[in-house]
């Protein structure tokens, strides 16, 4: 995308270019993580946009190089945590008696997918991010710890707790080892 530079402030233009470079380098990876944390593709894209808008307002705190990815991932997960908490408050005040959501499609694989994803929805965002990164993205524990700014022990703890919670929900419906 062309950015008009005539009589623009070099201060703003340098920062704008830096943000654009960050976006081009990290947005695809952030979207993949966001899509696995958020309920829909639109929500995931909003989450990515919000992450970079935060970065725009705090560009001096975004490190250069590989550490930028960690900053962006942490910001995204924290933003999703805020959304998740608000959604939980809204769902507690929503009309009772909604019952379990059922897809109209009777195919078992669709029901199974829905079940697994709802089980993931029940996990707190950070725990869900650990599970997604480890189980779906094959990110090593040490790298997850760096990305989220926590210790390896904390990552392993979230993995263990998350696996137990998912196994409890999914295993009750079809078995999982």
């Amino acid at each position: 995308m062309a950015v008009l530079a005539d009589d623009a402030s070099p201060f703003t233009d340098g920062r704008r270019e830096r943000l654009a470079v960050l976006f081009d380098a990290h947005a695809p990876r952030l979207y993949r993580l966001a899509r696995r944390l958020a309920p829909s593709a639109d929500d995931a894209l909003d989450l990515v946009q919000e992450t970079f808008v935060r970065a725009a307002g705090a560009l001096d705190r975004v490190p250069d190089g590989p550490a930028a990815e960690a900053w962006l991932v942490r910001t995204l997960v924290n933003l999703q945590r805020d959304h998740w908490r608000r959604a939980k408050v809204r769902s507690r005040t929503a009309a009772a008696g909604k019952g379990e959501a059922q897809t109209p499609d009777p195919e078992r694989c669709v029901v199974a997918r829905d079940l697994v994803w709802r089980a993931l929805d029940a996990l707190a965002p950070r725990r869900r991010a650990v599970i997604v990164m480890h189980e779906l993205e094959d990110v090593p524990v040490a790298s997850i710890a760096t990305l989220l700014g926590v210790s390896r022990v904390t990552v392993r703890w979230h993995l263990a707790k998350g696996r137990r919670e998912l196994a409890r929900i999914i295993g009750a419906h079809g078995g999982m080892r």
């Binding site: 008009l4 189980e135 999914i170």
Partner: protein
């Protein structure tokens, strides 16, 4: 029986979805970049303070200055928003600069001369947009600005005119008749974004 990994891969939406539409990705990118432009001037003053705090020995005076700033003891700088209207064309020609329009795939070609800018704005205010969640910015020009707009657009009927915020073309409507004393900036803004733009346009 299936493993957790297998169950998650089966449920993974990325295995079934084609990926986000390019237009939406471009829109997200544009909004993030515009956010830098809006925050840029405001960041200038705190950056100076931050350098005092982190660059080596931290003195008590520097800490006090930083605390005073972050507690609002100093007047915050309202971020200026650079607004321009330029004539544009649908086809490339010598002397024109190519620019995308918002998040559309459409391109326009901008004239070099600025028809009106912040100096020609009398007022800017937030008005309701296409629905309850989106807002626009109504810009009213000064008499001098209105004259410049009328003269420029009178000879430009049927061709586009580009509205730019911080150097980015946010819209490029076709001129149906000479534009007078006001323009409506529509960009699917949230209320906060529209208020920032409207206030920032009036900062000199």
């Amino acid at each position: 029986m299936t493993t957790l990994k297998d169950a998650l891969r089966l449920a993974d939406p990325l295995a079934r979805e084609p990926g986000p539409p390019e237009a939406r990705v471009a829109q997200a990118r544009r909004r993030a970049v515009v956010a830098v432009g809006v925050a840029g001037s405001r960041a200038a003053r705190p950056v100076a303070r931050r350098h005092v705090l982190v660059a080596g020995a931290v003195t008590a005076a520097a800490v006090a200055a930083g605390v005073a700033f972050w507690r609002g003891g100093l007047t915050p700088v309202l971020a200026a928003v650079r607004f321009e209207i330029r004539l544009a064309e649908e086809a490339q020609a010598p002397g024109l600069r190519e620019a995308p329009v918002g998040s559309d795939p459409r391109l326009v070609y901008l004239h070099e001369a600025i028809v009106v800018s912040n100096d020609h704005i009398a007022t800017a205010r937030v008005v309701a947009g296409r629905d309850a969640e989106h807002f626009d910015v109504e810009v009213v020009f000064t008499p001098g600005g209105a004259r410049r707009m009328a003269e420029a657009t009178r000879a430009h009927i049927g061709r586009p005119v580009a509205l730019l915020v911080d150097g980015l073309v946010v819209m490029a409507p076709t001129v149906r008749s000479a534009i007078g004393d006001r323009a409506l900036l529509t960009g699917d803004y949230t209320r906060a974004e529209a208020e920032r733009i409207a206030a920032g346009m009036l900062v000199r």
